[in-house]
């Protein structure tokens, strides 16, 4: 943070205010309950859960990227390993803030571990992400103390990779195993979540590295930067292509099926608007950046990469929200007696504060990590 020393305290101040506002919101939610959210017995899960899904999946994506040097031994990625693991930890912490407030209390998160139900995808999701956080923290500690290659350190790397593969599948199964909500596409939702993890995690890493490089004036040239700029962008392009293909297939099936649940689903009012069957968040947050990444002259510039990765990253949250809400947009069974045929959603101020709180915690950890934890460090020998 040498480049903009005067901005540093201002940045910390902004994050401090955001965290304070989030903490106050958390206290109100704890005291007054979820009546503060624009959720109801039809729209059961709203923005706080969407933010958790988004950040948890992004964390998994970062962990999967860290496996390139830490599990598969690709040396040229080693300078990024420590930062990737740290970003995965910080991002997951942000996700935990959001799910903690969705549950109303941090104690409820802990209680999940004390009364387990092994047939519950939510239990597995919570358990795997908790273990993943612990394994990542241990792995980071080993790397921070210079131990990249001992047997235990490698075991931790492999364990975090396996956990990061399974955790998105568990998030997907929370929705996919719900027999009564066909619009979540059953087990396919797990595959979608895994793909989205790779996509949003890679976008976050590129965006973060380029922005931090510009702000601090560091790591903007040299062999490491070349690898980052070229190869991670290529991974992002591949991931965006696969998710684009998947999304197109999903839209085609949704549009052509005659399954009654989907006929109701068609009438859902898109949260961010749409052009025909294509939601705005799909057009601007997936199709557009994918096209941008396919153009060599755009893909090759830092500005183009920042734009594409920012669109993908923000678009990922929007797409998670859209999928989350669309599947709950109409009342189930007798709830149609008390609720309108289609329920609309706009987040409440309290829900937005949960988003702000989660992002502020994540960004504060990023900031402190960059300053004190030597995230550019590469293994010696």
């Amino acid at each position: 943070m040498n480049g903009n020393k005067s901005l540093y305290p201002i940045w910390l101040g902004v994050l401090g205010i955001a965290i304070l506002a989030g903490a106050v919101a958390g206290a109100f939610i704890f005291m007054q309950g979820h009546i503060l959210f624009n959720a109801n017995d039809v729209l059961i899960w709203t923005l706080p859960l969407g933010v958790y899904i988004f950040l948890a999946l992004s964390s998994s994506g970062l962990t999967l990227l860290s496996a390139l040097p830490l599990v598969f031994g690709i040396k040229k990625y080693e300078p990024f390993a420590k930062r990737l693991v740290f970003l995965a930890i910080a991002t997951l912490c942000g996700g935990f803030v959001s799910i903690g407030l969705e549950l109303g209390s941090i104690f409820n998160m802990i209680y999940i571990m004390l009364s387990p139900n092994l047939s519950s995808p939510i239990w597995w999701m919570g358990a795997i992400y908790s273990v993943e956080l612990a394994v990542l923290a241990l792995k980071f500690w080993k790397m921070h103390t210079g131990d990249y290659h001992s047997g235990f350190s490698k075991l931790l790397g492999t364990a975090s990779f396996v956990l990061a593969l399974i955790a998105p599948l568990m998030i997907g199964s929370v929705f996919g195993l719900t027999e009564s909500r066909a619009t979540y596409f059953g087990p396919v939702m797990s595959i979608y979540c895994l793909l989205m993890a790779v996509l949003s995690g890679t976008a976050l890493f590129i965006l973060y590295s380029l922005v931090v490089g510009r702000v601090t004036g560091a790591a903007s040239s040299g062999e490491c930067a070349a690898v980052l700029y070229d190869e991670f962008t290529l991974i992002l392009t591949y991931a965006a292509g696969i998710v684009t293909a998947f999304t197109l297939l999903k839209i085609v099936i949704e549009s052509s099926t005659t399954i009654p649940a989907f006929l109701v689903y068609h009438k859902f009012e898109h949260l961010f608007g749409s052009i025909g069957v294509f939601g705005t968040e799909v057009i601007l947050g997936l199709f557009l950046p994918f096209v941008l990444l396919l153009i060599p002259s755009v893909r090759g510039t830092a500005g183009g990469r920042i734009l594409a990765s920012a669109l993908i990253f923000v678009g990922s949250l929007a797409r998670h929200m859209e999928i989350l809400l669309a599947g709950q947009s109409h009342p189930v069974g007798p709830k149609a007696e008390q609720f309108p045929q289609y329920v609309r959603y706009v987040p409440s101020g309290w829900e937005l504060l949960v988003l702000v709180f989660a992002l502020a915690v994540m960004l504060l950890l990023y900031t402190l990590g960059e300053r004190y934890l030597k995230l550019n460090e590469a293994p010696t020998g």
Partner: protein, 241 residues
């Protein structure tokens, strides 16, 4: 061990809603939450229209998605087939509500019985406030709270957890019928042991062709519907071209 089930005779049911009122009183259910509810439907085009009414409640499914998905086992099955909810174990994740194909689980979004917490008198200086009334009669959250609900479930369920019909397990344990069954003026609800071939429910299920809600998803609901309320007549005809 008995396997409890309910048969609802739609020919006897007149849609009076006594079941819902009885349930609300017996189980201290707050406003906005419906352990006992209904699905209504109007079919046809005027003047050839008809109104259909199906009473609903927790189906106490044999293969209950809410029980399978609950991360803390707050939602669980009793040996007698009743799907129960333990408020002490509930973390308020709402997955059971999300997962229920029948829309019969509700969440306490705020502290229940809001009306009865009001300190504002209906006629200032003339009447007591709802809160004063509750305190005067020694009620819990409402002046008419039923203490007999206490025991297997909280008398009043707090904010932040879900709740649903329990087949009045507290009454069944005392060999009493669920209160909605007791209160039905038309004897449209029949409760009993499905594992006993001579029970009233088994007899009715053998006599008529029952249906269950959303049977195709394999949840094995234990609320059965027989017959239908439709006194309409029509002239014998073969149609026409």
């Amino acid at each position: 061990m008995p396997r409890y089930a309910m048969v609802i005779d739609l020919q006897r049911c007149v849609g009076c809603g006594a079941c819902s009122i009885a349930c609300r009183n017996e189980n201290n259910v707050t406003e906005g939450i419906y352990w006992s509810n209904k699905i209504t439907e109007t079919v046809g085009t005027f003047p050839n229209v008809r109104y259909h009414y199906i009473p609903t409640l927790c189906n106490h499914c044999g293969s209950a998605p809410c029980v399978r998905g609950c991360p803390t086992r707050a939602m669980h099955k009793l040996d007698n087939g009743i799907t129960m909810h333990d408020p002490k174990k509930c973390i308020g994740c709402k997955y059971c509500e999300f997962n229920c194909p029948y829309g019969v689980i509700y969440f306490n979004w705020e502290k229940p019985h809001k009306f009865w917490r009001s300190e504002e008198a209906a006629i200032p200086g003339g009447t007591a406030s709802p809160k004063e009334l509750v305190e005067k009669v020694g009620g819990q959250a409402t002046p008419y709270s039923n203490p007999e609900r206490t025991g297997t479930a909280a008398t009043i369920r707090p904010k932040g957890i879900v709740e649903k019909c329990t087949f009045c397990d507290h009454r069944v344990a005392k060999k009493q019928l669920p209160y909605c069954v007791e209160a039905c003026p038309a004897n449209a609800r029949v409760f009993g042991d499905l594992s006993d071939p001579n029970s009233e429910v088994s007899v009715l299920l053998g006599k008529f062709h029952p249906f269950r809600l959303r049977e195709e998803i394999g949840t094995e609901p234990h609320v059965f519907y027989i017959r239908g309320y439709n006194p309409a007549r029509y002239r014998a005809t073969k149609g026409g071209v």
